[in-house]
Structure formats: structure tokens, C-alpha cells
Amino acid sequence: MTDVTDLGIAQLRDGIRAGTFSAREVADAFIVKVSKAKALNAFIVETPDHAIAAAKDADAARAAGETLKPLAGVPIGMKDLFATKGVQTTAASHMLEGFKPVYESTVSQRLWDAGAGMLGKLNLDQFAMGSSNETSYFGNVISPWRRGGGDNAPLAPGGSSGGSSAAIAARLVPGATGTDTGGSIRQPAAFVGISGIKPTYGRCSRWGVVAFASSLDQAGPMARSVQDCAILLENMAGFDPKDSTSLELAVPKWEAGLSSSLRGKKIGIPKEYRVDGMPAEIEALWQQGIDWVKDAGAEVVEVSLPHTKYALPAYYIIAPAEASSNLARYDGVRYGLRELADGQNLQEMYASTRAAGFGDEVKRRILIGTYVLSAGFYDAYYTQAQKVRTLIARDFDNAWMECDLLLTPTAPSAAFALGEKSADPLAMYLNDVFTVPSSLAGLPAMSVPGGLDKAGLPLGLQIIGKPLDEQGVLNAGLAIEERAGFTARPESWW
């Protein structure tokens, strides 16, 4: 008999519709898996009742002969950056520990309206700041993957959407939401051998998503197949008047539009992405990816994105600057933590609340952001970074005159061990080298698994598309998925 927890979003949806299994059986099976996987620390809160309620609705609708909703009875995980009504929403911070929103984020509401259920709130880097899930107040998420040869060193699931990536790879959920500011969907997806897409900036509403860097933050789906990502994205995206940067456009039928033929497409290979010290295995996988897209009918051309090396330093001005402004709201007055010693005045209350409520990496970024925005430095840092951002976006515009999509590795390495990079913030930041440029330009980009390295760890390939061309990105992802035949999965030890 099939273990339903091995199935993806499309298979669960279709199986529930066809009556192959009930939604309740599906929910129960995943709830058991979640409850037994505490060692991964992927969840901050488990919400079995939510998943069961959605399953009951789906089974009742089916019994009544009604047309089922697009995700009827499909249980998913929700990154704990999305406000969920009545369910603790923390952004993995002490600051918001115990915070129960009185409202629902637009993206999560759309998923519930589509019939999905929630298995729980997934752990992440604190306020989504990190690339390894080591900055969560609620502890590290442990990747379900291990290096071969008896090396049991706990590995990073990537970040910031590390609870999402770990839970999907471990088959605790068939899919989950993520958010991506500089690579937080794509890098964790690559680290655990799953797929994830960051859509064009403005496709998914940011309303109810705890803000990090508002000009970059985008929600997107993570799952084990390109088709599953397309299905989830269709049910997350859409215009929302509550987000001033939401795009007033119809949501395309991405699932129906899937096609793995790349005939007539030109795929660019940006030469600046061949960085010094890139492992030979990543280089080899990239070449393999080039061969796969050629096999799918695409023409491959070399392109140049000359300002690539300045993307990371620009990002590490812009993102902290926006974060320092966004996180000013945590003042101990309206919600969240309050630290107030006897005799402290209001200013002291702000300072001690923020000292106690924020972790080291969050403080580091607020301080950097405050510094680069402070009087006398604003033009030299922030304005210069925004000008460089214009040049980076222009590089992509120029590339689109020669190609339709770009193919690159997702990350410069496979998953590293927990603690391996956490002592050096800069080394950690460099992990985002391939994902940050497309974030700065607001472009849709996706990671799909390509293969395993010598240690048996997954490596990802990234496809970047023109604004609003999620379909092109998904289709190229599908072409690679079909050729990579990636079926490796972590052996259960948790």
C-alpha cells in the first residue's frame, strides 16, 4: 500500500478527488509524521486541528458530490513568517513569542480558501535573516540529510526557509510556503534536494508577512516537484489592495501551461557566475544543466552581467537599511515582548525590550542599517547601493535582448555543517552570491535539484526569468527535472 506521505501536492489532490484515499487519512498520516520528527526541529507550532478541519471539509464536500476546491484536503506547512489568525506567529524571534495575530496573511488566506490545511508553523532564521537556520530563537533546524560514510554531523537545511525545506525533504509535509528576500526559498531548496520558486516581485501579497526588507521580500512555494510548485503558486499569488506593491494582474494558469519543451528558447549562461573557488562538482552540474536544456531544445548562449560582483555588497546595504526601518515597530508598546525594569523610563524600555527581543544577527543587521542610513553616510552607502541596483537590473535587461532565461547554480556549495560558517557573518553572506542579483532586480527565479555531490548531498540549479515569466521559469525547471530524474531522499534517522 502507498504511503500517502510520499506523495506530492498534485498526487494528493488527485487522489482525494478520485477517492483513492480520504483527506482525513492524508491529514492523519502527515500529523503522525510531524509528531515523530521532533529531532529535526522543523516546526515551532504544530496545528493538527487545522489540517483535520480542512480534511473534514474536503471529505464532506466530496460526499455531497460538490466540486472540490483546488487544494481540497491537501495539508501543507506554513513558514512562521506569515500571520495566522489565532496561531502563534513569531518570525522565530523572542520578540514575538506568544504573539497570536488577530488577522490572517493574504497568502495563507488564499491557501485556506483553496481548501488546504495547515500542519504547523515552520521554523526559520530569525526575522528571515540568515542562510542556515541557525539564528532562530527556537533552535536550529537540522537537515534530514547527512553526508555519506557514517559522518553524522548535523547539516544546515539552508535558510531562511529552513524549516520548510527540512520538512518537505523529510516528507513531513508535501509542500510549504517560503519567503525569499535574497535567496531564502532557493538556497534551502537546493540544500535539501527540492524545488522552490520566488515569483516576480509583486505577484504575492506581502500583507501579513512579517517584514524584513520590503522592496525585496516575496512569498513563494516550496515542494518536491515543479508541478507542485506551480499548483501552490497559483493558489498564493494574486492582486491584493492591502499591499501597495501588489501587481494588479490576473494569475496565469501555470500548471496547465507546463511544458518541458524548450524549443525556440534561448538560455543565457552568465559568465560572471563562474566565481573563484567554486567546487568542481558545482561546475560539472552546471555543465550538465546546460546539456539538459540543450537536449530539451533550447539554444544556449553566453551572456554577461558585468555588475554581478557588486550585487552582494549592495544587498547588504539595502536589506539591512530596510530592516532597520521595518523593525523599528518592535518597541514593546503595541504587541510582542516588553522588558521594563523598575524605574526605567520610556526610552530605556525601548532599548531593553529590543536588546532582549532580538538575536545577534538581527541586531547586527539593524546596526548596519542604522549606520548606513545615518546623517552623513546616507548618500555614500544607501543612495550608491540603489544606483548599483539600477545597474544590476540594467544588466538583466541587456541580457534579455540575447536570451529568454538564465541558467546558473543555486548556491556555491552543498549544505554545510551547522556551526561551520556561523562564526563569520561575511562567509555566511557569500552563500547568497547566485540568488541575490535576481532578487535585487525583482525577477522570478527557481531552484530545482540537479544531482548529488560526492558526499551524497543535493545540489541545485537556478533558472532566472524575465519579469512576469514564471511560466518560462517553471517550464525550464520541468525540463531539467525530467532529465535529472532526481529521486534521492534522506534516509530516516529522526
Partner: protein
């Protein structure tokens, strides 16, 4: 540009984050390391380049100036660390 501990304390004060002397000592080299790295942006020629304001062309929408979600006092106060008589409360600010 080098940041000393006094600057770190000044910035922390602007950001309303209490830090100890030991924190400032630890943070100064960390921040210098990061700032030193981002300063490479200075070598990019950005003459005649406008700073980015929106990644995807979009226009800010206007809506009618009417109350859309009023009468929500209790919901607004629900997560307040301290509230009294329908207000947020803070330490006394008037001497």
C-alpha cells in the same frame, strides 16, 4: 571608514538597542569587517545613474478616503503587553 566602540554605541542608541561595553567591543570589529567589504561599491561609476525606486514598474493606487476597517479597538489592543481603559500604556513620559 572605521567604526570605533563610541560609534557603535551611538548607532545602537539611535537604533534603541541597549548594549554593554563588552558588546560594543565585540561588535566594532564585526561591523568594520562587513562595512569594509560593502565599501567596494564606491568603485562603481554611478554618474548619471538614477537610484532604483521600484523593481517592477507599478503605480501607487489611490482609494477613497473613507474608513474601511473601523471599530476594532479590542482587536488592536489584544496583543498589547500592557493596556488599560482601552489604551496602550507606557511608563510616564511627563515629569
Amino acid at each position: 571608514m572605521s567604526v570605533d566602540t563610541a560609534t557603535v554605541k551611538k548607532v545602537a542608541s539611535l537604533a534603541r538597542i541597549a548594549i554593554s561595553d563588552a558588546d560594543a567591543e565585540r561588535l566594532a570589529p564585526e561591523l568594520n569587517n562587513i562595512l569594509g567589504w560593502i565599501e567596494q561599491l564606491g568603485e562603481v561609476d554611478t554618474a548619471n545613474v538614477d537610484p532604483m525606486t521600484a523593481v517592477i514598474p507599478n503605480t501607487l493606487r489611490l482609494r477613497a478616503d473613507v474608513i474601511t476597517e473601523g471599530q476594532q479597538r479590542d482587536a488592536v489592543l489584544q496583543n498589547a503587553p500592557q493596556g488599560e481603559h482601552g489604551f496602550f500604556t507606557v511608563p510616564k513620559v511627563v515629569e
